[in-house]
C-alpha cells in the first residue's frame, strides 16, 4: 500500500510539475465556460416555462462531455508511453510494486486531475444558484455521469498509452475513436432499425444521456464501470506480455 501511495504521489507531482496540465485546465475551463454562457443564453432566450433540466443542464453536461473527449487524451497519453520512451518502466517494474498498483496509481492520479477539472466547472451552477435556486440532486447525477464517462475514457487512454512509446500516437489513438463514436451518435436517425438497438447498447454517449437529465440508472453505471475495468484488464495484460516477450 505504501509503495502504491508513493507512486500515486509521484504521478500527481509529475502532472502538476509539467505545464501541460495547466494548459489543459485553462482550455478546458475556457471551453466549458463558453458553453455555459451560450447554453444559458439559449435557455434564457428560448426556454422560459420549460424544464431547466432538459433545456439547460442537459445541454451543458453534453457540452462538457464533448470537451472531456478532447481533454482526457492529453492527460492519459503520457501515462505509460512516456515511461516506455524514457526507459523508466524497466526500473519501475523491478521495484516491489504489483502491476496492479502501478496501473491503479497512474489511473488514480489521472482521475484526480479530471475531478479537479470538473470541480472547476462547479462555479457555473453555483453562480446560477445564487441568482435562482434549483433542485440539486439532478446536478449531482450529471456530475456522477461525467466522472464515470471520463473514467472510462481515461482507462481507454491508459490502455492505448501502454501499447506505444509515442505520446503523440497514444493521444491520437485515444482521441480519434472517441470522436468517431461521438459522430456516430449523430447518425442514429440514419441507422437501420436492426442495428440501432445494438449501437445504442454499446454507445458511450447513449449511456451518458440519462445522467444528463438527472437519472442514475444501475445499468449505465455498470456499463461505465465494466468498460473501464475491461481497459484496465487489457493494460495489465500488456504489461504482463512485455515480461514474456522481452520487449521494453
Amino acid at each position: 500500500m505504501r509503495s502504491f501511495v508513493a507512486l500515486f504521489r509521484k504521478e500527481l507531482r509529475s502532472y502538476f510539475g509539467s505545464p501541460l496540465v495547466y494548459l489543459v485546465a485553462a482550455a478546458f475551463l475556457a471551453y466549458t465556460g463558453y458553453y455555459f454562457h451560450s447554453d444559458l443564453l439559449y435557455f434564457v432566450t428560448f426556454g422560459f416555462g420549460v424544464n431547466i433540466m432538459e433545456n439547460f443542464w442537459q445541454l451543458l453536461f453534453i457540452d462538457i462531455r464533448l470537451v472531456l473527449i478532447l481533454a482526457v487524451p492529453l492527460l492519459t497519453m503520457r501515462l505509460l508511453a512516456e515511461e516506455r520512451r524514457l526507459g523508466t518502466l524497466e526500473l519501475l517494474l523491478t521495484y516491489p510494486l504489483r502491476d496492479g498498483a502501478i496501473v491503479a496509481a497512474k489511473l488514480g492520479a489521472c482521475l484526480v486531475v479530471i475531478a479537479l477539472l470538473l470541480a472547476g466547472t462547479l462555479a457555473y451552477p453555483v453562480w446560477v444558484y445564487r441568482i435562482q435556486p434549483f433542485a440539486l440532486s439532478p446536478l449531482v447525477a450529471g456530475y456522477v455521469g461525467l466522472l464515470l464517462f471520463a473514467g472510462t475514457c481515461a482507462s481507454y487512454g491508459l490502455f492505448i498509452s501502454s501499447l506505444t512509446d509515442s505520446q503523440v500516437l497514444a493521444g491520437f489513438l485515444t482521441a480519434l475513436p472517441l470522436l468517431l463514436l461521438w459522430l456516430l451518435s449523430w447518425n442514429e436517425a440514419a441507422t437501420a432499425g436492426t442495428t440501432l438497438p445494438l449501437m445504442r447498447a454499446l454507445s458511450l454517449f447513449n449511456h451518458f444521456q440519462p445522467f444528463s437529465v438527472g437519472l442514475i440508472e444501475a445499468r449505465d453505471v455498470f456499463y461505465f464501470l465494466f468498460s473501464a475495468g475491461a481497459f484496465v484488464w487489457g493494460t495489465l495484460r500488456v504489461l504482463e506480455a512485455r515480461q514474456w516477450l522481452g520487449r521494453r
Binding site: 509503495s3 507531482r13 526507459g87 524497466e90 526500473l91 523491478t94 522481452g246
Partner: protein, 316 residues
C-alpha cells in the same frame, strides 16, 4: 544469495540465453563477463524479474522470483545498463520516491536518502533535477537508487559503460565500497571484472563458457600474451610470415596510424620464443623491424583460449 538454474530465454525464434546456471554466495561480488550481445543484460533482467525466463528459474535470497516476485524484488536493488530516471524529479526526490516504494517513510526514509547521497557523492547535486545532470552523476544517482533502503542483493548492468576515465575510476571506487552485500555486475572488460570481483561468470552467445575466480582465470591466461609488431614492408607477405611462426595463434593487421610501417597483433600461448624469432625473420627478408611490444591479455584473448582455442580470431 542469487541462484540461477538452467535459464533460457527466447525472443521470438531467437535464443538469447541458452541453459545458463550460476550462483552468487552471500557477500560475494561476482561479475558476468562477456562481449556485447552475449546475453548479459537478458540474464540480469531475468534475475531482477523484469523478464520472465522461457525456461529455468531464479531465486534471490532463497525466494523464487517466479513464485513470489514482490518478496524477491524487495531484497534487490537494480542499476540497468541505460539508467533512466524521471528527469523532472530532483535527485533527493528521486531517491525518496524509491525509498518509499521500498516501504520506508518518515525519518527512516530521510535517513536512508541522506546515507546514499553521502555514499555516492551526490550532496552537491541533491537539489538539482535529474534531467540536468551529467552522465557521470546520472550513473551515480542510478547506483544510489539501487542502494537506497539497503537491499541485500545488487544487480548492476555495465555500471561503468559510457563514463569518462575519471568517472570510471570514481564508479569503481564506489563499487569497491560495497563490501558485505551480494553484488552481481556485468561488464565486457576483463580487467574490471578481475579487479573488482571475487568470482567471474563468463558468457558468450547466450551460453555459459566458464565460471572461475580471477586467480583461476589468470592461470588459464598464463603465458597467453599479445605482441604488437611494427614492420616496414609488403603487408600481406609480412602477415603470412608472422601467422606461420610456431606458437602464434592469431596474427591480424591493426588499423594504420601516423607512424611508418604496418602494425600487427600476435596472440599466442607462449610468445617468448616468438619475440626472439621475429627479428631474424623480418630482417632476413629485407624488411625493417620498427617495434616489438608486449601487451596484457584482454577478454578477446581469453575467448581465444576458452571458446575458440584453435580458431584464428573467429568471426567476432
Amino acid at each position: 544469495m542469487i541462484v540461477a538454474e538452467h535459464l533460457t530465454k527466447y525472443y521470438g525464434a531467437t535464443r538469447a540465453v541458452d541453459d545458463v546456471s550460476f550462483s552468487v554466495a552471500q557477500g560475494e561480488l561476482a561479475a558476468l563477463l562477456g562481449p556485447n550481445g552475449s546475453g548479459k543484460s537478458t540474464l540480469l533482467r531475468m534475475v531482477t524479474g523484469y523478464f520472465s525466463p522461457t525456461a529455468g528459474r531464479v531465486s534471490v535470497g532463497g525466494i523464487d522470483m517466479g513464485g513470489a516476485p514482490l518478496a524477491a524484488r524487495r531484497r534487490l536493488g537494480y542499476l540497468p545498463e541505460q539508467v533512466s530516471l524521471y528527469p523532472e524529479l530532483t535527485v533527493r526526490r528521486t531517491l525518496a520516491f524509491v525509498a518509499e516504494v521500498r516501504g520506508l517513510s518518515g525519518k527512516p526514509r530521510r535517513r536512508a536518502v541522506d546515507e546514499v547521497v553521502q555514499r555516492c557523492g551526490l550532496a552537491e547535486v541533491a537539489e538539482r533535477r535529474v534531467g540536468t545532470l551529467s552522465k557521470g552523476f546520472r550513473q551515480r544517482v542510478g547506483l544510489a537508487q539501487a542502494l537506497v533502503g539497503d537491499p541485500d542483493v545488487l544487480v548492476l548492468d555495465e555500471p561503468t559503460v559510457g563514463l569518462d576515465p575519471v568517472q570510471t575510476v570514481e564508479m569503481r571506487g564506489l563499487l569497491r565500497g560495497l563490501t558485505g552485500r551480494t553484488v552481481l555486475l556485468s561488464t565486457h572488460i576483463l580487467s574490471e571484472a578481475s579487479a573488482l570481483c571475487s568470482r567471474i561468470v563468463i558468457v558468450d552467445r547466450g551460453r555459459l563458457v566458464a565460471e572461475d575466480t580471477p586467480a583461476g582465470l589468470g592461470q588459464r591466461l598464463e603465458g597467453l600474451g599479445r605482441l604488437v609488431v611494427r614492420v616496414e614492408g609488403p603487408a600481406p607477405e609480412i602477415a603470412s610470415v608472422l601467422a606461420a611462426m610456431p606458437g602464434v595463434l592469431r596474427a591480424e593487421a591493426m588499423p594504420a596510424d601516423a607512424m611508418p610501417g604496418v602494425r600487427f597483433l600476435l596472440v599466442g600461448p607462449d610468445l617468448g620464443p616468438v619475440q626472439r624469432q621475429i627479428g631474424p625473420a623480418v630482417v632476413g627478408r629485407g624488411w625493417t623491424l620498427l617495434e616489438v611490444r608486449a601487451e596484457a591479455p584482454t577478454l578477446e584473448d581469453l575467448f581465444v583460449r576458452l571458446v575458440r582455442p584453435t580458431g584464428h580470431g573467429g568471426d567476432r
